[in-house]
């Protein structure tokens, strides 16, 4: 399988076989990501890290990945400091980075920005989130986390919890989990239910998702609880927001009813969805999940720049 020069824009651009390949490759990167081994496979390579909106966790994860591979990172973390502020188009910024580096990571507030960037760059584009749009490396690290912990994704009972309506990363995840034959349970407030198109997409892939608002019941035989942040700005008033947020608090009391092997995941940053008391339980996997961003991004950077271990 050859990924050299490929853009990583949307998880839907990849077949299941290709995703498997990336996940297997990521496994080989874990010890290097921890700093236990040393490789310099991307020595002399330069990654442009263009963050047109801040996302500290994703940016650090990409930068760590590139550094662990012996490569270097140029770019910016804050759009106020860039020429974009002076009115430069995205396409011009991309052309510049294309001339200065071997791959580009882009985070941008406009939907479709990464796809557009790919039209103006010869070197690979890695989408680190475009507006409310796609965030394929998050999706891949989520899959990697489940497969690492559970050995397989097929038949795993996965609860997707929270804002299922607006959170498009959770839509990609639902798609990818369906591709792998996971059993999906959607738990959300009535007003934030999974859109019909996404449900239909899952069905087309052979999964029959269940929807419920009762988390306590759903959690009893679930293998994975994937919580997402409910964003305050989606709600007309603070009272409604507080009511919805309070509905699904994950704490030790809730987890008493859970399957012992349940893992709790969250893309972070969390607000109040998960009580810090859960951090000390064996259910908590979200920090490890965040770490998994590094080996997965190492694998992607290695693959698209055509360097193999």
């Amino acid at each position: 399988m050859n990924f050299r020069g490929r853009d990583i824009i949307s998880i839907k651009d990849f077949s299941k076989e290709e995703i498997n390949y990336i996940l297997n490759y990521s496994k080989k990167m874990v010890s290097y990501a921890k700093g236990e081994g040393h490789i310099e496979k991307l020595k002399g390579k330069v990654l442009s890290s263009l963050f047109f909106e801040p996302s500290t966790r994703t940016r650090l994860s990409f930068e760590s990945a590139m550094n662990r591979l012996g490569g270097r990172v140029i770019g910016f973390a804050d759009p106020t400091a860039t020429s974009q502020k002076k009115g430069e188009s995205l396409s011009d910024t991309i052309r510049m980075a294309d001339a200065y580096s071997d791959a580009i990571v882009i985070r941008h507030p406009q939907e479709g920005a990464a796809r557009l960037a790919a039209e103006f760059a010869d070197i690979p584009i890695l989408n680190a989130g475009d507006g409310a749009g796609r965030h394929p490396t998050q999706c891949l690290l989520d899959l990697f986390t489940i497969i690492t912990e559970k050995k397989k994704i097929e038949k795993q009972k996965v609860i997707l919890l929270g804002d299922l309506k607006y959170g498009r990363t959770v839509h990609s995840l639902a798609y990818a989990l369906s591709l792998y034959g996971a059993e999906l349970i959607f738990v959300s407030p009535e007003t934030l239910k999974m859109p019909k198109e996404v449900v239909n997409e899952c069905k087309e892939l052979g999964t029959e998702p269940h929807s419920t608002s009762n988390l306590e019941k759903a959690i009893k035989d679930a293998d994975v609880l994937y919580a997402t942040r409910i964003q305050k700005e989606r709600f007309p008033d603070a009272e409604e927001y507080n009511r919805v947020v309070g509905t699904y608090k994950i704490d030790n009391h809730l987890l008493k009813n859970a399957n012992d092997k349940l893992i709790v995941m969250h893309p972070l940053p969390r607000v109040t969805e998960i009580d810090p008391e859960v951090d000390r339980t064996h259910h908590a996997l979200y920090f490890k999940q965040a770490f998994n961003g590094v080996p997965v991004r190492m694998a992607l950077l290695s693959l698209v720049t055509g360097e193999k271990i």
């Binding site: 949307s10 188009s89 995205l90 396409s91 941008h108 507030p109 406009q110 939907e111 479709g112 920005a113 796809r115 557009l116 039209e119 475009d130 507006g131 409310a132 749009g133 796609r134």
Partner: protein, 150 residues
């Protein structure tokens, strides 16, 4: 009821088999009456073998293939008849291409294609009949295609 007769035209274009009620949208796509002074006749709710349909006749103007693509977005079953000297000299069905460039804007205000970038709007055709398209950039389906045709 007898089928409504539209006078024969000497030269121009007859757009037939427009789904009933859509003739006005087709006129708008063709920029009629704003940008053209041709005589135009419209027949709506005409009975035919396949149910009711609309027909548009435009005198002294042969519509070009670019306009045909636009019509396909609104009236996927339409046929285009080019009339020369009272006879049908060309006849073709409209067909949506697999990709549409520059015909309609993306309805998503946060889509990158609506910003100051040197690209045309671009859509992937998901289904030709009924017409369903998806933005190449943001992957959203526009809400009302007819409203957004350029």
């Amino acid at each position: 009821m007898k089928e409504l007769k539209i006078p024969l035209i000497k030269s121009g274009t007859v757009i037939d088999h427009i789904a009933a009620g859509n003739a006005v949208k087709v006129l708008r796509i063709l920029g009629i009456p704003k940008t053209h002074s041709s005589t135009v006749s419209v027949a709506m709710n005409v009975r035919s073998r396949l149910g009711k349909k609309d027909i548009v006749k435009v005198e002294n103007r042969e519509i070009d293939p670019y306009e045909v693509d636009k019509i396909a977005l609104i009236a996927p079953k339409a046929t285009i008849n080019i009339i020369r000297n009272y006879e049908v000299s060309e006849k073709h069905k409209v067909e949506l291409p697999d990709e549409i460039v520059g015909i309609t804007h993306c309805s998503n205000p946060t889509c990158v294609s609506n910003y100051n970038e040197p690209v045309e709007s671009r859509f992937i055709v998901l289904s030709k009949d009924p017409p369903r398209i998806k933005c190449y950039y943001c992957e959203r389906e526009p809400e009302d295609i007819a409203e957004r045709i350029i």
